[in-house]
Point group: C2
Chain length 399, copies 2
């Protein structure tokens, strides 16, 4: 099958990049266990371990599901069986072994370390996140598909709106359209304190509510166990509605934000929105391989300060200190566009740029798009109306 | 506010249980960081740490969100500031400290261990999961609300069905009803390899597909990154549809499964379904405080074997070795109803019992309900039609 051939070539490209990284830090091998890393490195999620030595072909040690076959697949009942299998299969035992130190639980990490007894361990999470920041041709095709469906869904948002709705009711309608347009539902994030469901919709004063999580903006959320996003705010005249729902139409998530208004907004909201569009334009102009990510943040902030909008930038009561982030299988990948980032843009990085303002009493305005870094600059993946779209605030009687 | 008073009493009950457990194992304190444990112990999710000493009142060390106030709340920028604050606030430094060893990442655990330098560490995950298995009166009220909304949604399932649909299309309709009935969306699981979105719907042969995850049944899922549940199977005549969508209408999730059929099913499917109901009845009869959880599994299996249905019980190509599990903020809490479980039922445990059979070529049948252990036996929380509900397989033209 054509797709399988493409997938195989994609995996081999990923393995060769990973092996290059292993050799550079004198690691003998890398053992992956987390779902997202397994999907990245094998094209599927299974319960088990993927072992890639610094040279040679990888091995798959599988607990579940039953029925996976392949020359380099071995079934195990527990991780302690791997060292025995290494001996049997004449795989050299790694002296320096990379494990997912920022993702595995403490007990799982210790268990693997005890089983393998490497002389040294290194952090596979860090290495994987670096490698995953440069997308492969196959991954970029996944983004393109997500972006198209994402735009399709956003175009349906005005049809989701009915006067008298709350933010949650509008979000439910958008979620239903997302699913019908092929969203896989599950929205993957990196880090343990990043709960979210399908994305964020912020309306009115709720846009000011600080969140515990590391997203661009907050919101009170539906209950105390999920303090992010829509909270039941009525969508009344003069309210800005910021829609930042996931583009998870493939395992590769595009990130896109658009703003809708119930009737007209105050003039300052349109002005701030325009400033966000101006920031986006400037960033598109200066971005190319080699541009420091910190520069993208600093340029954005300079425009914000020049326009006198600092106190509204990326929140009010709590302000996020970034203006964008890498995207991929998880919504918060590398690079990060922060003032202290040491990263520079490189071809085939894919990132979201999201200059946003919160206008007290009105809501959030601004823009977010997903961009691919090309040899010459940026390619915008998420193409869709960028102006604030006005929704009717009065019930229109048709009878 | 009445609710706040109730919540405060609830938290004090939880703290006293946790302190009792700490004293029993000579631990000086417990530091919690994971969202679900923070919600359990504080009634909210924040980015930070909750410290409960074995005696005395707890402390809240908060990174985000801004704006939390309280006598025992202190803001920090990084966890390393906690030991300084302990000195300043004259909190005794714990010699034996419990950390969430089965949940914290390796690097976070090491960071906390390095900051606190306790003489000994213990596993807060284990202790919390034990304590969380006995629900408080407030938690039971949350379950009751979830159960009512869960039943309400399931009663709408026949109205979601249209001939010619796929399993995914039916699931989307059910998800939309769930949200409108107040589902919080996010479906919380314990463990790193337990991806799922809002629940599982299994139809036809897809019910046989083994999954990497530790759920009762499998299914191929929408794509290779999410191999669980519905996969696009057409719902044609003679197909059994097993609906096991989350009851997350509060942070406390009820678990309930019901079966629908497109037209009539073969006789063996109805017979197996009846056996599942018989198992449920027997378990309801023998369960009371003190009943070993292993006994619940063994009794179920004995009935299955007597009826000659072993090869279909809890899957075919891969069979789950449990017949139920505790539920709570996460769908897979303690106790577990497995052959080797050492746990016994205790008052106010809340668990799901789910005897299920997979009939090749037809789909999955069986039952799942959520039960509370009372002083006398079991109370069924999820009350809703238990027979297989037949759906029309022909389009009915109304014009």
């Amino acid at each position: 099958m054509m797709i399988q051939k493409e997938l195989k070539e994609d995996l081999q490209l990923k393995w060769s990049r990973l092996q290059e990284a292993l050799l550079k830090i004198n690691a003998d091998g890398c053992l992956l266990h987390m779902d997202v890393n397994l999907f990245y490195a094998t094209g599927r999620v299974f319960n088990g371990y993927f072992y890639l030595p610094a040279e040679g072909a990888p091995w798959f040690f599988v607990l579940r599901p039953n029925g996976l076959t392949g020359e380099r697949v071995r079934y195990i009942r527990k991780p302690e069986q791997m060292p025995e299998l290494f001996a049997e299969l004449q795989i050299p035992m790694p002296q320096k072994l990379l494990l997912e130190a920022d993702e595995l639980t403490y007990n799982t990490y210790i268990r693997l370390q005890t089983a393998f007894q490497p002389r040294e361990t290194g952090n596979a999470t860090q290495v994987l996140r670096q490698i995953r920041s440069i997308k492969t041709p196959w991954e970029i095709e996944q983004f393109r598909f997500s972006a198209r469906q994402h735009a399709l869904t956003y175009a349906e948002i005005p049809a989701c709106f009915r006067p008298g709705m709350t933010d949650l009711e509008l979000q439910y309608e958008i979620e239903a359209r997302m699913r019908r347009n092929g969203s896989m539902g599950l929205f993957r994030t990196f880090g343990s304190n990043m709960d979210i469901f399908m994305g964020s919709l912020l309306a009115g004063e709720n846009a000011e509510t600080p969140s515990p999580f590391d997203f661009a903006l907050g919101g009170g959320g539906p209950n105390a166990s999920l303090p992010i996003g829509a909270n039941g705010t009525p969508l009344k005249e003069g309210t800005a509605i910021m829609v930042d729902m996931a583009g998870n139409y493939t395992p590769y998530i595009t990130d896109m934000t658009r703003v809708f208004s119930v009737g007209k907004l105050p003039g300052e909201a349109y002005r701030a929105h325009q400033v966000a569009l101006n920031i986006q334009q400037e960033i598109e102009e200066i971005s190319r391989p080699g541009t420091p990510c910190a520069e993208l943040y600093n340029r954005s902030l300079a425009i914000v300060e020049r326009e006198g909008l600092s106190q509204f930038f990326m929140g009010t009561r709590q302000q996020a200190k970034f203006v964008g982030h890498g995207i991929g299988i998880q919504i918060n990948e590398l690079p990060v566009l922060t003032p202290r980032s040491k990263e520079v843009l490189a071809p085939n990085m894919v990132f979201a740029l999201e200059p946003k303002f919160v206008i007290p009493g009105v809501g959030a305005v601004g823009i977010e798009n997903s961009f691919r870094v090309t040899e010459a600059g940026l390619e915008k993946l998420t193409v869709c109306e960028e102006a604030i779209v006005q929704l009717p605030f009065e019930q229109i009687n048709i009878l």
